[in-house]
C-alpha cells in the first residue's frame, strides 16, 4: 500500500473539503484530507445560514448535496437538520436573531415556537456570555413583535473554579473529560431550569460530545436545552468540525492536519503533487484527483490567478484554459470563481467537486 499516493487528495477541511472527502470515501476510494488547521466550520457558530442562491446554484442539486451532508453529520453523531427554503430565526448571544437554514438539534431548540417561557442561564465568571443583556434584548424584540415569548435571566455558580474570566473552552474541555463535572453542571442547572420548559445556555457542552450524550443530559434535566454560540471559535462550530473530522478519520480517510500546503506541483495540465510544509523537509502527497478547498489562502498556490471554473469545477486561467485536468475547486475558491456563496453553497461546491474528482479519476492520467 502506498502511504503518500491516493485516489483523491482534498486540501482544506471546511464545509467544502469535508464534503468532498466524504463523497470520495463513500465510493470506497483512498482519500487524504490535508489541512492547516480547523476550517470554516470550526470558526463558525455551528449552524448554516440561509444564503441566497449563487448564480450556479441549482435547487434540486443543492437539496441533494444538503441531504448528503445531513446524512454525513448523522453518521458522525452530530445530526444537522433543516431546509434550504425554510430558514428560521435563532437567537444569538447578543439577543438578535439569525436566519438559519441548517443546525444541530440543540440549536433548533432555541428556535422553538411553542410559546414556552424560556430561561437564559449564564455562568458566574464566564463574562463572554451576558444572560441579562440577552434576555433584555429578546424581551424587547418579543414585545415589539407582539409575541407572547418571555425570557428570564438567571446565573449559576459552578463549584469548579475556572478563574475569572473563565472561557468556554475551559468549561467545554472539562465537560468532555469529566463525567463528574457533567453531573455537577446538571445539578447546578436544575434549580435554575425549574418551572421552565426551555433553557438557553452558552455553548459549553463539550468539544466532542455526541448528540446522544446531549440528549441524555436533556432527559436528565427534564427540559429542552438550547446552546447559544459565543464568539468564534465557538464550541458548537468546533464540535461539528471535530465530529466530522474524526468520523472521516475512523472511516479510513488519512488525515494530515496541522501543516499548510505550500505549493502544488502542476505540469502538463496535471496536478502531480501537493507539497505540505513539515519540519525538516516537505511531505509530498499525490492524488489522481486533487480537490482544492482552502479558501482564500489557496489562491497563491496556483501560478496564475483563477479567472473562473469550468462546468467540472476545474480552475480556468485568464485565457479560459483549464489549469489542470485533475484539479477541482470547492468552497470559497469556487465562490470567487463561480459565485458559490455561503455555507450551503460551500457544501454544494464540495459535493460537486468531490463527485467530479471521483468520476473523472484516471481519465486524464498521462
Amino acid at each position: 500500500m502506498q502511504s503518500k499516493s491516493f485516489d483523491v487528495v482534498v486540501v482544506g477541511s471546511g464545509f467544502a473539503g469535508l464534503t468532498a472527502a466524504a463523497i470520495a470515501k463513500r465510493q470506497g476510494l483512498r482519500v487524504a484530507l490535508v489541512s492547516t488547521g480547523p476550517g470554516s466550520i470550526a470558526l463558525g457558530p455551528g449552524w448554516l445560514k440561509a444564503e441566497p442562491f449563487g448564480p450556479s446554484s441549482d435547487a434540486a442539486e443543492l437539496s441533494e448535496a444538503m441531504a448528503f451532508f445531513c446524512e454525513l453529520t448523522r453518521q458522525a453523531g452530530c445530526p444537522v437538520a433543516g431546509d434550504v427554503a425554510n430558514p428560521r430565526p435563532i437567537p444569538n448571544y447578543l439577543g438578535s436573531c439569525e436566519s438559519v437554514a441548517f443546525a444541530p438539534q440543540r440549536l433548533w431548540n432555541a428556535a422553538g415556537d411553542d410559546k414556552a417561557s424560556t430561561v437564559i442561564v449564564g455562568i458566574r465568571g464566564l463574562s463572554i456570555f451576558d444572560e441579562s443583556f440577552m434576555a433584555e434584548r429578546l424581551n424587547e424584540r418579543a414585545k415589539a413583535a407582539g409575541s407572547p415569548d418571555a425570557y428570564t435571566a438567571r446565573q449559576i455558580a459552578l463549584r469548579r473554579d475556572f478563574g475569572i474570566p473563565a472561557t468556554v473552552l475551559q468549561i467545554a474541555t472539562c465537560f468532555d473529560r469529566d463525567a463528574a463535572f457533567r453531573a455537577e453542571l446538571i445539578e447546578a442547572l436544575r434549580p435554575a431550569a425549574s418551572g421552565f420548559r426551555r433553557i438557553l445556555l452558552p455553548g459549553i457542552l463539550g468539544l466532542h460530545s455526541s448528540d446522544w450524550l446531549l440528549a441524555q443530559l436533556e432527559a436528565e434535566l427534564g427540559c429542552s436545552i438550547c446552546e447559544v454560540p459565543t464568539l468564534p471559535p465557538s464550541i458548537l462550530g468546533l464540535r461539528l468540525f471535530h465530529r466530522l473530522q474524526s468520523y472521516l478519520h475512523s472511516s479510513g480517510v488519512e488525515v494530515f492536519s496541522g501543516f499548510p500546503v505550500h505549493s502544488l506541483q502542476v505540469g502538463k495540465e496535471m496536478c502531480i503533487g501537493v507539497d505540505v510544509t513539515a519540519p525538516g523537509h516537505p511531505l509530498t502527497l499525490h492524488g489522481e484527483s486533487v480537490v482544492l478547498a482552502t479558501g482564500r489562502r489557496s489562491v497563491p498556490l496556483l501560478a496564475e490567478p483563477i479567472a473562473g471554473c469550468d462546468p467540472l469545477m476545474r480552475p480556468l486561467d485568464a485565457t479560459g484554459a483549464v489549469m489542470a485536468q485533475n484539479l477541482f475547486l470547492a468552497g470559497t475558491l469556487a465562490h470567487s470563481a463561480a459565485g458559490y456563496r455561503g455555507d450551503t453553497m460551500r457544501i454544494l461546491s464540495g459535493y460537486r467537486a468531490g463527485t467530479f474528482a471521483v468520476t473523472t479519476r484516471g481519465a486524464y492520467a498521462s
Partner: protein
C-alpha cells in the same frame, strides 16, 4: 492540560497574548508556564502557523523557580550527563535509583516523585554494521539518550532493521537533542547541545549521509533545526538547517522503502492485537502515520491507532512531584483508550510515553521497531502467537 486543570490559561494566552506584554516589558511571569507539556499541539491547531510553543518555551526559560526546583531542573535538563554518570557503574546506579530511602530523599530534597520508577541504565554499544556498506544509501542513527544510556540493544535492532531494508546503518555518538533542556527552561544548555550535535553531524550530512531517529522527540528537535536555537549564528544555523532537511524518522524511511516496493516483507504470519499510540512529537513532524501502516503489513496483526491524545508524561514533567497528578490525569484518556482497545500489548516509539503507559495501565509497551524486526523471525517452537511477546525484554512497570 486544560482538561485536567481548569485554571490553566491555555496556549493562546500563555503564548501570543502574554507575549505582547512580555515584549513591552510588562511583568507577566506565571507559574502556569511550567505546566506547558511542550507537545506542540498548539502549533498544529493554529491555522496561521504562529509559533506558540516556542514563545512559551522562551518565556519558561525566563521563569523564576524556587531554588529546590531550580536545582532539580538543572539535572533534568541534562539527561546526557545523568546517563554518562549512571552508565559508569550501571548496576550501582540502578540499585541506588530504585532504593526506597534514596527515593524518599529525592522526594524531600529534590521534589522528584517516588511513585515512578526510573528507567534502568545499561552500558553497551550497538554492533557494527554487518553488511559493511557497499553502494547502499548510508544512514546514521541519532540514538538519543534513551537508546544511548537505557536501551543500547534497541539501537542494534534499529541498525539491523535498516540493514535488512537496504541501508548501510551506523549508530552515531551524539549528545542529547536538547528537548529536556528546553522543557526544563534551560535554553543555554539546549544551545550548547545543539552546537555539539551540529559539529558531529554536519560533515556526515554534507557527505550525503541521512540522519535517522527512532525517538520522535529527538526527531522533532533535529527537524526543527534544534528549535532554531542556532539561527543567529550563520554557519551553525545553516548547518543545522541542512541536517534538519536530511533527518528522517525511522518509520518514515522504512515507509519510503515500502512505497518504492523495497521493503523486505518476509514477515512470518502471526496473530495478535496491537494498540499503537502516536507520540505528540510524532504528530508534530507532519509525516502521516508510517508506523501504523508498517505494522499493519505483518500478516495476522491487527493494529488499533489509539488517537487518544497526549500520554501526559512529557519527558521529565511526570517525574516532578508537584506535577505527577496532572501528568497522570492528562494520560487518563489514553489509558482508558488502551483498556478499551483490548490489545495484547501497546506500542509507541517514544521511550517516556512507554514508561507512562506501563505506569498507567501495567501493560507491556514496546518500540514498534522491535515488533517489526521480530516479525521477520520464525515463530519460536510451540509458541506461534506469543513469539514477539516472549522475546521482548521485560521492563519494570
Amino acid at each position: 492540560m486544560l482538561g485536567v486543570n481548569p485554571q490553566y490559561p491555555g496556549p493562546k494566552r500563555l503564548g501570543p497574548e502574554l507575549e505582547r506584554l512580555r515584549r513591552e516589558g510588562v511583568p507577566t511571569d506565571t507559574e502556569w508556564l511550567e505546566y506547558c507539556l511542550g507537545c506542540h499541539r498548539c502549533d498544529l491547531a493554529c491555522p496561521h502557523q504562529v509559533g506558540v510553543s516556542e514563545m512559551i518555551a522562551q518565556a519558561k526559560a525566563r521563569h523564576h523557580k524556587p531554588l529546590i526546583r531550580a536545582l532539580r531542573d538543572w539535572w533534568f535538563a541534562r539527561p546526557g550527563l545523568i546517563g554518562k554518570l549512571s552508565t559508569i557503574l550501571p548496576a550501582l546506579s540502578n540499585f541506588g535509583l530504585a532504593m526506597k530511602p534514596a527515593r524518599l530523599a529525592m522526594s524531600i530534597f529534590m521534589r522528584i516523585t517516588p511513585l515512578r520508577s526510573f528507567p534502568e541504565y545499561r552500558w553497551g554499544k550497538a554492533q557494527k554494521p554487518i553488511s559493511g556498506g557497499g553502494d547502499r544509501p548510508r544512514v546514521l542513527l541519532f540514538p538519543g539518550c534513551s537508546i544511548r544510556y537505557n536501551e543500547p540493544e534497541l539501537g542494534g535492532k534499529v541498525v539491523e532493521l535498516l540493514e535488512r531494508n537496504g541501508f548501510s546503518a551506523e549508530v552515531a555518538e551524539t549528545e542529547c537533542c536538547g528537548v529536556p533542556a528546553m522543557a526544563n527552561g534551560n535554553s543555554g544548555v539546549a544551545q550548547s547541545l545543539a552546537r555539539a550535535n551540529v559539529k558531529l553531524l554536519a560533515a556526515q550530512v554534507d557527505a550525503g549521509v541521512r540522519i535517522v531517529t527512532a525517538c520522535s522527540s529527538c526527531g522533532h528537535r533535529i527537524k526543527t533545526a534544534f528549535g532554531g536555537v542556532l539561527d543567529e549564528d550563520k554557519a551553525f544555523g545553516s548547518a543545522a538547517r541542512r541536517i534538519a532537511a536530511n533527518t528522517f524518522d525511522l518509520a518514515e524511511l522504512l515507509m519510503e522503502q515500502s512505497d518504492a516496493g523495497k521493503l523486505d516483507t518476509a514477515f512470518q504470519p502471526t496473530n495478535f492485537r496491537l494498540a499503537y499510540h502516536a507520540p505528540c512529537h510524532q504528530k508534530s513532524q507532519g509525516i502521516g502515520r508510517p508506523w501504523f501502516h508498517l505494522l499493519r503489513q505483518i500478516p495476522g496483526v491487527t493494529v488499533e491507532d489509539l488517537d487518544a491524545g497526549c500520554c501526559g508524561i512529557s519527558g521529565t514533567f511526570g517525574f516532578k512531584q508537584e506535577k505527577y497528578n496532572a501528568s497522570m490525569a492528562v494520560g487518563q484518556q489514553l489509558f482508558d483508550g488502551i483498556r478499551a482497545a483490548q490489545a495484547e500489548f501497546v506500542t509507541t516509539e517514544c521511550a517516556t510515553c512507554q514508561m507512562q503507559i506501563e505506569h498507567g495501565t501495567s501493560m507491556k509497551t514496546i518500540h514498534p521497531a522491535e515488533i517489526l524486526l521480530q516479525a521477520y523471525r520464525p515463530a519460536a517452537k510451540g509458541a506461534e502467537s506469543d513469539s514477539v511477546l516472549e522475546e521482548v525484554p521485560a521492563r519494570m512497570c
